[in-house]
Symmetry: C2
Subunit: 139 residues, 2 copies
DNA sequence: TACAACAGTGCAACAATGTTGCAAAATAAT
DNA sequence: ATTATTTTGCAACATTGTTGCACTGTTGTA
């Protein structure tokens, strides 16, 4: 019997450890994006801060999670879709950060439009982040 | 006789001080976006690290510079266009970060497209950041 | 299951980045 | 010129991120 969590780790050639299982479960439970600090709070003293840094880094490299840029010096991380693999992400959806509650959403069904760049500029990745009020916080 | 720098500070109701003049001049000279660390390097020991933090914060609040989100935990700052005033920015252009040289460009003539959000989501601000190779670094 | 090889973790020490309060200095207003 | 106000530097502290290394846990093989 294999849980979904164990399967995901194995699929990406990672040893199955307590911290990885737990951190991955946080993402699955939450549904939304998490910052390093969120994970630190959720896990209490269960494992070391350094382990969280290394786990997040490993997950990003393996294509399990992706980063979401912000203007407040706190990277958010969210689960990738199945197509993401090591070294090549396919997360071309819009992200939304709520100014009220701070929740960060992957808007999986809103895709990032192509932009026409000036001569000589070659795009490798495009991030579109919208901030405002989410559907939970609206009046 | 008033310099452009002094004028800009006065226009935004700021006292004209050495550090503000110097930091603003860095932005005017560079043309591109600067991170806190860039300013710290350019200024050497001329003024305190805390003063740089406070000056950048003040400039953002007053609409002299705007922030550019990144996925590497290092906010970049760039000069605003003239229309930006306290509490209300008008920097709806695309930003480009070169993976080779690290330079961050304001693509003033490439505007951010409107995106259609799911029901209940209200956009206040939209940031579009492209990364890749700039026209200086291509091939 | 037992063992060896390997990978991941915790800890400690450190570096970098950001924040706050307060007295001294600079600037602006009178 | 004097006063009122704002800004700065400093010190102290908090938070965030990085690295090396010994120890522990995991995996694959017998
Ligand atoms: Mn996402
Ligand atoms: Mn810009
Ligand atoms: Zn919200
Ligand atoms: Zn470049």
């Amino acid at each position: 019997m294999h849980s979904k969590i164990t399967d995901t780790l194995k699929k990406h050639q990672l040893s199955v450890t307590d911290s990885r299982k737990k951190i991955l479960s946080f993402f699955l439970q939450s549904g939304n994006a998490l910052a390093h600090a969120d994970i630190e709070h959720k896990s209490g003293t269960e494992f070391d801060r350094v382990t969280i840094y290394r786990t997040l880094q490993t997950f990003v490299e393996k294509g399990i999670i992706h980063t979401i840029p912000t203007a407040d010096n706190s990277i958010r991380y969210a689960l990738c879709k199945d197509e993401c693999v090591e070294g090549h992400h396919h997360d071309d959806h819009v992200h939304f950060i709520c100014d009220e509650c701070g929740t960060t959403y992957c808007l999986d069904h809103v895709s990032v439009p192509k932009v026409k760049l000036p001569k000589g500029f070659k795009a490798a990745q495009t991030d579109l982040v919208v901030s405002g009020t989410c559907n939970n916080c609206e009046k």
